[in-house]
């Protein structure tokens, strides 16, 4: 083949690959925008002030909202964070900084296993441990189930961002006479802080949409659920209930709830990425 011919061939391959990768990217973005757009079209019109402030109305009555589901989800996610983040963070610190070869390997492996457990199985576990003991469904049980799901990702992301802190920073602190725990608390963790927070936010976003474990832990509630000891409504569970019902009015509400949930997750994801990219920029010189 002549040199010009080889050049044409190279250009052709280039163009084919560019087209393929470009099309894939368009497909991915398209899917996301399709889902968002579909939910928006179907559900945004149902979104009004009442949606965010009123309780669900019985079938046949128009209006009403999902205020109890929004509050319920918020409470369960807060509880999940309170359970999952400390355990996950401290576990990640242990793995990154103190782990001995054999034991650390076992902990990592079990963490990855836990991450792979189907969410409905975690729901069954929380059902056995919390609901059966208390003899009723509750926000607490839902929060526990979601918290367990948050642990593995919090551990791994903390560990990963701690590993990314350069060795030089640790040595610098130790060489000044800092004991190890102090070096970790005042130099290493602050240096990894933005990455860890981002990891936790993404973790939260993932868990916010989980439905299966909530079906038999918090179960559901048509009314407000004060405290943590009563069954509670949550956005994912309401979507499930309303979408599988035969009522058109409920279908519209399900779309609206889906849209709200998706916007919540999207907001958390985007803010997390922004925080992380800002920290990367300030670090690069």
């Amino acid at each position: 083949m002549t040199s010009a011919g080889r050049r044409r061939r190279r250009d052709a391959v280039n163009n084919v690959m560019l087209t393929l990768t470009g099309l894939s990217t368009l497909l991915i973005c398209g899917l996301l925008f399709f889902v968002l757009g579909y939910l928006f079209l179907k559900g945004a019109s149902t979104l009004d002030w009442a949606f965010f402030t009123e309780l669900p109305k019985p079938v046949g009555e128009t209006g009403g909202g999902m205020a109890n589901a929004i509050v319920g989800s918020a409470k369960m996610l807060a509880l999940a964070t309170a359970i999952g983040v400390p355990i996950g963070f401290l576990g990640g610190v242990y793995l990154a900084e103190y782990g001995q070869k054999g034991f650390a390997f076992v902990v990592q492996y079990l963490t990855d296993l836990l991450n792979g457990v189907p969410s409905i199985v975690i729901g069954i576990f929380a059902y056995t441990v919390v609901v059966l003991r208390m003899h009723h469904f509750s926000t607490l049980a839902g929060g526990v189930a979601l918290g367990i799901m948050m642990i593995p990702i919090a551990v791994r992301s903390t560990e990963e961002f701690l590993h990314a802190v350069p060795r030089g920073l640790r040595e610098g602190a130790l060489a000044l006479g800092a004991p190890k725990w102090r070096m970790l608390a005042t130099v290493v963790v602050p240096a990894a802080k933005q990455g860890i927070i981002t990891g936790i936010m993404l973790d939260l976003a993932r868990v916010a949409g989980e439905t299966a474990p909530l079906l038999f832990t918090s179960f559901g509630n048509q009314f407000w659920s004060p405290g943590f000891n009563q069954p509670a409504a949550s956005l994912p569970a309401m979507i499930f209930k309303y979408a599988t019902s035969p009522y058109a009015d409920w279908h519209r509400q399900a779309f609206a709830a889906g849209f709200v949930l998706l916007m919540l997750i999207l907001t958390i994801n985007v803010s997390a990425r922004l925080i992380l990219s800002r920290s990367r920029l300030s670090r690069a010189r």
């Binding site: 920073l169 610098g172 130790l174 060489a175 000044l176 602050p190 240096a191």
Partner: protein
Amino acid sequence: MPRLTTPMPGSPKPSEELAGSSPAGDAAAPVTVQGAASAELFGPGVEEKMRITGLNFFYDKSQALYDVSLRIPTNHVTAFIGPSGCGKSTFLRTLNRMFETVKGTRVEGDVRLDGEDIFDLDVTSVRRRVGMVFQKSNPFPKSIFDNVAYGLRVNGGLSRAQVAERVERSLVRAALWDEVKHKLHESAYGLSGGQQQRLCIARALAVDPEVLLLDEPCSALDPIATAKIEELLLGLADSCTIVIVTHNMQQAARVSDYTGFFLMGKLVEFDRTEQIFQAPARKETEDYVTGRFG
């Protein structure tokens, strides 16, 4: 102390009657280091700050330092030179027990600071008394002020005013104060490479160490920044014992009073700097300082 330039190849070989020296090129005999432990080496009025005896260093199964013995003089600059991988950085890290941060390392032998065994003392107190500056500057992601104040806050017991005063004094000693006094609360990462290294020196000085170890502190810096740091080290030596590891022989010749030559984990020769560079006792030393290898 007169400063020197490195000798040209072919400078006169030393007489073999120098006290305690092994015949040059005698590989079979154990290394007896020229004068390293002898009292005459230091001269009148020079005290001993650290004494290392029979130091052997192991990374898991392999050995990195073989039977190193020497004394570090107080308030002078001691340099260690040698080709890459000869063990000089490893040796430096035993002086403040920093090797203990790496798993699988083991040390045999005796290291004394002012007569006390550093392995009997609390490790954080050893590291406060024997500070270290690293090859690649490693400022914390904090402000300039907080970097220098870090060691002070870790050790505690100082009021805010005292901390501020010590921070200023350290930055002055590190020849950085004028350049940063108006921006103490800005991030340390905004400084240039040379400034960051001087910041690390200020940070190490803030806790008033008795000994300052520097591991190739200028290897990542341009000649002007290097010159600034060398000048500040010469000024510091009056109040602090300086130990510097360098692969740059001219730097060792410029800056130090005493020089030790490491080769393959052994201390081949340790003597006053002008001896090492003008009339080394060992052939290996002469080959190295005249540039025949390394």
